[in-house]
């Protein structure tokens, strides 16, 4: 809570494009590169006015608009340098908005940023499906946890489909939904052509632990597409940590950013603080986060202000049951005897899983 305030005052942002930065120096660099660069000779000037004068004097051209600026902020007359010179009304409006929903702001203003970020924090899944519980009730759980190969991160696009091998689906799943479909299909989106290729190459039967290629996992330099990566990496992560424990720490130490992978809950608490946070909203408590714990993480993230790791939590964090299902179990809503929300045996099993997981959580 207090954090938000702090953030509002400590975060700097670019008047021209609303993008946020952690450091004013970086902001100035950004402005020079994006907004104050001469379009003819690419010389970087320090202010918009300076750039206009340079272009006029050197190249004999008129520049009236700041490049890459939002509408209404394109004037070269206002002298902006970093956070200096921003008109008070714009400043107030910016922070007013910020106040309402600080975390989203980043996404709104500059989506690529969160994406970048995403790549870093693949760990989250480790939280939801904490390795420990997994070990505790292996069969069920194992089946519920998708086991995409650790290798995906390589081609960024893939992670969208590999999930197929997930969950209760037996090994053949890969080719299976898709080949069927083309039969009648008329719609343009046709995954079947490309995906089999990709998939065959990358899918290992769920349950098997693919040798974790650390190199692949550590994609700290996320390209813009990484959004996808972030998606993929969580799986490889938790997996290795359960089964291939030894190898993990190595991985972890090898690449700074990946630490997350292993622990699942490092960065979590900085909604939009560090550009490195995006995915790790872990509900701290249910993280089994084994031995490979937070230390490395914290070291990594040190520059960001937040102290403890588990501050962020999901208000509803029951991954095994929806709010409605839980609500139904309230006696008030159970009109008839037999109407428990769990009608099938499967469901009862689910519930047991849940309970054991809760138990695990407590332990933490």
């Amino acid at each position: 809570m207090g954090k938000k305030k702090k953030r509002a005052s400590s975060k700097v942002w670019c008047y021209y494009c609303d993008r946020e930065f952690d450091d004013e120096k970086i902001l100035v660099q950004h402005q020079k590169a994006k907004h104050f660069k001469c379009h003819v000779c690419h010389k970087k000037l320090s202010t918009a006015g300076g750039m206009a004068i340079h272009v006029l004097q050197v190249h004999k051209e008129n520049v009236t608009k700041v490049p890459n600026a939002k509408p209404g902020r394109e004037s070269t007359d206002i002298e902006i340098y970093g956070m200096q010179g921003i008109p008070p009304d714009v400043l107030a409006a910016h922070y007013g908005e910020e106040e309402e929903e600080a975390p989203t702001k980043a996404a709104k203003v500059d989506v690529p940023a969160p994406q970048l970020v995403g790549g870093v924090v693949p760990g989250t899944l480790g939280v939801t499906y904490p390795p420990q519980p997994m070990a505790a009730m292996p069969p069920m759980y194992g089946s519920a946890v998708p086991v995409p190969p650790a290798a995906w991160p390589v081609p960024p696009r893939q992670p969208w489909f590999p999930p197929q091998p997930a969950v209760s689906v037996p090994p053949p799943p890969v080719g299976y939904a898709q080949p069927l479909f083309p039969v009648q299909n008329v719609r343009p989106p046709m995954p079947s052509t490309t995906s089999p290729l990709l998939q065959t190459s990358q899918v290992t039967p769920p349950g098997l632990v693919p040798p974790p290629p650390p190199a692949a996992v550590s994609q700290p330099l996320f390209p813009v597409v990484t959004n996808n990566l972030s998606q993929s990496s969580p799986y490889p992560a938790p997996l290795p940590s359960t089964t291939v424990l030894p190898s993990v720490p190595a991985e972890v130490r090898s690449g700074g950013a990946i630490t997350n992978v292993a622990t699942g809950y490092q960065t979590p608490n900085l909604p939009g603080m560090a550009p490195a946070s995006s995915h790790s909203y872990a509900s701290g408590p249910n993280t089994g986060g084994p031995s490979i714990g937070p230390p490395p993480v914290i070291a990594n993230k040190a520059p960001t202000t937040q102290p403890a790791v588990n501050e962020v939590y999901l208000v509803w964090d029951d991954e095994a049951m929806s709010m409605e299902e839980r609500r139904m179990s309230l006696p008030k809503y159970q009109v008839h005897d037999e109407t428990s929300q769990m009608s099938s045996i499967d469901a009862a099993i689910d519930r047991r899983i849940l309970e054991s997981r809760l138990a695990g959580r407590m332990a933490f």
Binding site: G96, E98, A166, A177, V183
Partner: protein, 347 residues
């Protein structure tokens, strides 16, 4: 700046929306507007399905309770038939009832499951009703027959559904998103794992059927395209978070005209977004209670949202004595729901 932020704390209706008269006595589970007129349906945990007529004259909006039916147990979902004559509702009594509202007829059971029915949709092009249940099936119903035309097994309990013919996306408890091409409903078009790492809460198909949105309990929305060549356009973004609290995204609704969308969450807030320019168009003050469901009317001139307890903080945070349920109507300005081009965007 603090003054604006603090505003949400005290008032019941911080956004000065229009309150719907005689709201349900327990939380609202779904809201649906008639595709033909401004009739609003709300299903509730008090077992009732209620209908209001919403009338507008200029800026003033009034709601008149019209009729209601009841289920034996809490109702979870609702849908209108495309001609606006009939309402379907499904819930914990494992049934779907058909309520011929226009003719004033009695409600009749038209579909049965083995567990509560979480989602339903009417598919005009097929003249069928589809129902998704926690019994891990989807069933398609020809309303004249007692048995389903087709029963489609799902990998897990159905948590969310969206239909934009011929695209249908089902979100299940295992975070799978099962995509169907309704021209061939018996075959799974493809199953993908949610781009989000936590429980799927809601899905919404793009109006152009090229993809869908998915919202999770982890205050995040994924924008996903079906076409593999568009995968690079996929992204996720955070929302409905406050400080260290990460709230569920409970509702995703596309604007029927501008194709921007609204999110609503357990934090009591709702926002309007434009996925194409990746911008938030408008954020509203948080209500003091969660928003479990919301919807646009047929022309997008009214955004209805319910403010009541959604169970996101469990039974221990539910006080039946003080819990109140509201349904609000917000009349969006065009600027709030119309996408703006993103200047300097790198496409």
């Amino acid at each position: 700046m603090a003054t604006f932020g603090a505003a949400a704390t005290a008032t019941e209706n911080p956004n000065k929306s229009v309150e719907v008269a005689q709201p349900p006595s327990d939380s609202v589970s779904s809201l649906s507007f008639s595709p033909k007129a401004n009739f609003l349906i709300a299903t509730s945990w008090d077992n009732q399905v209620r209908c209001w007529e919403i009338t507008r004259s200029g800026a003033s909006v009034a709601s008149v309770p019209k009729a209601s039916i009841s289920h034996d147990q809490p109702v979870l979902c609702s849908a209108w038939k495309d001609d606006g004559t009939t309402v379907f509702s499904g819930g914990c009594d494992k049934q779907v009832k058909m309520w011929p509202l226009a003719s004033g007829g009695q409600a009749a059971t038209v579909a049965m499951h083995e567990a509560p029915v979480k989602e339903i949709a009417w598919i005009p092009a097929m003249n069928l009703l589809v129902s998704g249940s926690w019994d891990k099936t989807l069933k398609y119903w020809d309303l004249r027959q007692p048995n389903p035309v087709h029963s489609q097994p799902l990998t897990e309990r159905c948590y969310a559904m969206t239909v934009q013919y011929p695209l249908m996306v089902i979100g299940t408890a295992d975070r799978n998103l099962t995509v169907f091409n309704l021209q061939n409903p018996q075959t799974v078009f493809k199953t993908i794992q949610s781009p989000l790492k936590y429980q799927t809460r809601c899905v919404a198909a793009f109006p152009d059927q090229q993809g869908f949105l998915v919202g999770s309990i982890e205050g995040r929305v994924g924008v996903h395209h079906l076409d593999d060549s568009l995968q690079s356009k996929n992204f996720t973004f955070k929302c409905h978070r406050e400080g260290n609290d990460v709230y569920s995204v409970n509702s995703l609704n596309f604007h029927p005209v501008h194709h921007t969308f609204a999110t609503a969450g357990s934090d009591g807030g709702f926002n309007f977004w434009d996925k194409d320019s990746k911008q938030r168009l408008k954020a509203w003050s948080r209500c003091p209670q969660p928003i479990p469901c919301s919807t646009f009317n047929n022309d997008g001139s009214i955004y209805a949202y319910s403010v009541c307890y959604d169970w996101s903080k469990g039974a221990e945070n539910h006080n039946p004595a003080t819990a109140k349920t509201y349904i609000y109507l917000h009349l969006p300005q065009e600027s709030e729901v119309k996408g703006k081009p993103r200047v300097g965007a790198r496409k």
